[in-house]
């Protein structure tokens, strides 16, 4: 039996005083930590801010893809959709894959934090990042002469919330089930495929044949076309909203079964 080095740990230092922290404090601390980590991670900032911002400026100023005039009004809604997809799906799936690898989920699951808040905290952090993206991209678009239809603002907010839920659930589904390297590869491949052929850069009607109809049923197409309709015409695209909520519900049900802590 060892003897204690004097004075390092006075008697009573570790006297038990267990208890659960306040739920809102636990949830907000987790969300704030993950929010700060995302903004501190260079690759995440590239994916979530720099690429959408660069594409917003490039597609507005350069005539590389056919876009009606005024270009910025038609490009901006699609880039907002890209921002939501990058953060809620690709960024989140990759972060979740590696957090599982590093034992973060197990670590948090061993605290008083309820299991559902492991995911809820992540979604809150994602919403925080989406808010930062909206401010940055919105400001850049306004500087480029963006004139959104004011009547479309409220439906746009609803679409962004539904889109974040849908892509967030898909991100948890992917990042919560597979090995980190596989998640990285799949998340980036899917991101690129949806950017090019999923209704983000090119409007659904500009895509060839059957792809045009399929794309509006994809979360990327639904979000991009929905935001485009809302912010250009000022109407509410209910069909896009329904598509996004269906994806959110389906992915959430599946993810709840497949999510693994490590």
């Amino acid at each position: 039996m060892t003897t204690l080095s004097p004075d390092t740990f006075p008697p009573g230092t570790f006297a038990p005083a267990p208890g659960r922290g306040a739920l809102t404090r636990m949830l907000l601390t987790q969300a704030r930590t993950e929010f700060v980590l995302t903004l501190r991670n260079g690759e995440q900032v590239l994916l979530t801010l720099l690429i959408p911002l660069g594409m917003l400026i490039g597609l507005t100023l350069l005539n590389v893809v056919p876009v009606p005039s005024p270009r910025v009004d038609h490009v901006t809604p699609r880039m907002l959709a890209l921002a939501v997809m990058s953060t809620a799906f690709t960024g989140q799936a990759i972060a979740l894959g590696f957090d599982r690898r590093y034992g973060v989920l197990k670590r948090l699951a061993a605290t008083a934090l309820p299991r559902w808040s492991l995911v809820a905290g992540r979604m809150l952090a994602v919403l925080g990042v989406v808010l930062v993206q909206l401010v940055v991209l919105g400001a850049a678009a306004l500087a480029l002469g963006w004139h959104p239809e004011l009547a479309g603002m409220a439906p746009a907010v609803l679409l962004i919330l539904a889109g974040t839920l849908a892509f967030g659930a898909l991100g948890v589904l992917l990042g919560g089930a597979l090995r980190a390297e596989v998640v990285l590869a799949v998340a980036n491949t899917v991101w690129l495929a949806l950017v090019v052929a999923g209704g983000i850069v090119l409007a659904a009607h500009a895509l060839p044949g059957p792809l045009a109809t399929i794309v509006t049923a994809l979360p990327s197409g639904a979000l991009a076309e929905g935001l485009h309709t809302a912010l250009v015409t000022g109407t509410t695209p209910w069909n896009a909203l329904v598509v996004l909520l269906a994806w959110a519900a389906g992915a959430a049900v599946l993810a709840a079964r497949t999510l693994r802590l490590s």
Binding site: F9, P16, P18, G19, T29, R40
Partner: protein, 311 residues
């Protein structure tokens, strides 16, 4: 009416946990009494981590009963988790998180946490409090994981290989902490494959191999059972041993198993030691490499399993 037996901090009965054809834990029983330290000792792959993870509620037992503070780690997990501190083996933090942020996050989950800054200071992490986790050394990552296990002021603590990858000073610090935890009324179950760690810290040692109990008892019980203590020394070969035999107390035997290597077997006390050195002086020889040895847990393990503990 008899009083009920005091509730064990951890009780495991007939635990079985298989992965495919492999029975990682195969009918294990153990019991951690309140405010005591139990060391789960065994070579790599013995089933230590599996046992601990079942106690933590991360794995479901295939058979048997596991209770922590009288509660089922899975069914009563929500009630139990705030009362338990967990140090997993390796990892347990976001790659980019700073030590202080990670500990603050775990502290936020507790009602009366220890002070985060103070705990980092105590564990020698104050200087790296703002360094991202992935850039900490293995020993620093281990100390952060230990801090996360303690910050919520739990009643029971599970530490899986708490000192692996640590330098001697850090290991000593962990030993101090475990000793203080027990004195403060915390029950501790830790795993190790270092017998000196188990001997130094534990009230109760449970030795397992291939998922089965090999031996259990206090370190003293395990190392003294059937053990003859030995005194060895080296000197000029071929010394006349009869006079020494006569001078030593009854029950002591002297031999020269190899030329110049002498062995005294029996209960070695200071008087025996003095007799041997006095006899050497009379013979005009200098006793070299004089040492007393007793059975170590390593010896116990080797005798029981025929295997080295550090595999």
């Amino acid at each position: 009416m008899t009083l009920p037996a005091p509730l064990a901090a951890v009780e495991v009965r007939g635990l079985v946990r298989s992965f495919g054809a492999l029975r990682a834990v195969d009918g294990l029983d153990l019991r951690v009494q309140p405010a005591t330290v139990l060391a789960l000792l065994g070579p790599n792959g013995a089933g230590k981590t599996t046992t601990v993870e079942v106690c933590e509620g991360f794995q479901r037992p295939d058979a048997g009963v596991v209770r922590v503070l009288g509660l089922d780690p899975i069914a009563d997990g929500a009630e139990l988790r705030p009362r338990v501190g967990v140090m997993p083996q390796g990892g347990g933090a976001y790659p980019g998180v700073r030590a202080t942020e990670m500990l603050a996050l775990v502290a936020a989950c507790a009602a009366h946490p220890l002070d985060v800054g103070w705990l980092l200071e105590m564990l020698g992490l104050a200087g790296v409090a703002r360094v991202p986790y992935k850039r900490l050394s293995g020993g620093q990552q281990q100390r952060l994981a230990l801090a996360c296990a303690l910050v919520g002021r739990p009643e029971v603590v599970f530490l899986d290989e708490p000192t692996s990858g640590m330098d001697p000073q850090a290991r000593r610090l962990v030993w101090d902490i475990i000793t203080r935890l027990r004195a403060d009324g915390v029950s501790v179950l830790f795993t190790t494959h270092l017998m000196e760690e188990a001997e130094a810290l534990a009230d109760q040692v449970v030795i397992i191999d291939h998922g089965r109990l090999v031996a259990q008892g206090s370190p003293a019980e395990l190392t003294s059972a059937g053990a003859q203590r030995q005194l060895r020394f080296g000197a000029r070969p071929g010394l006349e041993l009869d006079p020494l035999c006569t001078a030593l107390p009854e029950g002591c035997r002297v031999s020269e198993p190899r030329p110049g290597g002498y062995l005294v077997e029996g209960l070695i006390d200071p008087q025996v030691m003095a007799t041997v050195t006095a006899w050497c002086a009379q013979q005009g020889v200098f006793a070299e490499d004089l040492r007393v040895s007793k059975r170590s847990l390593e010896d116990v393990f080797l005798e029981l399993t025929g295997r080295e503990l550090r595999s």
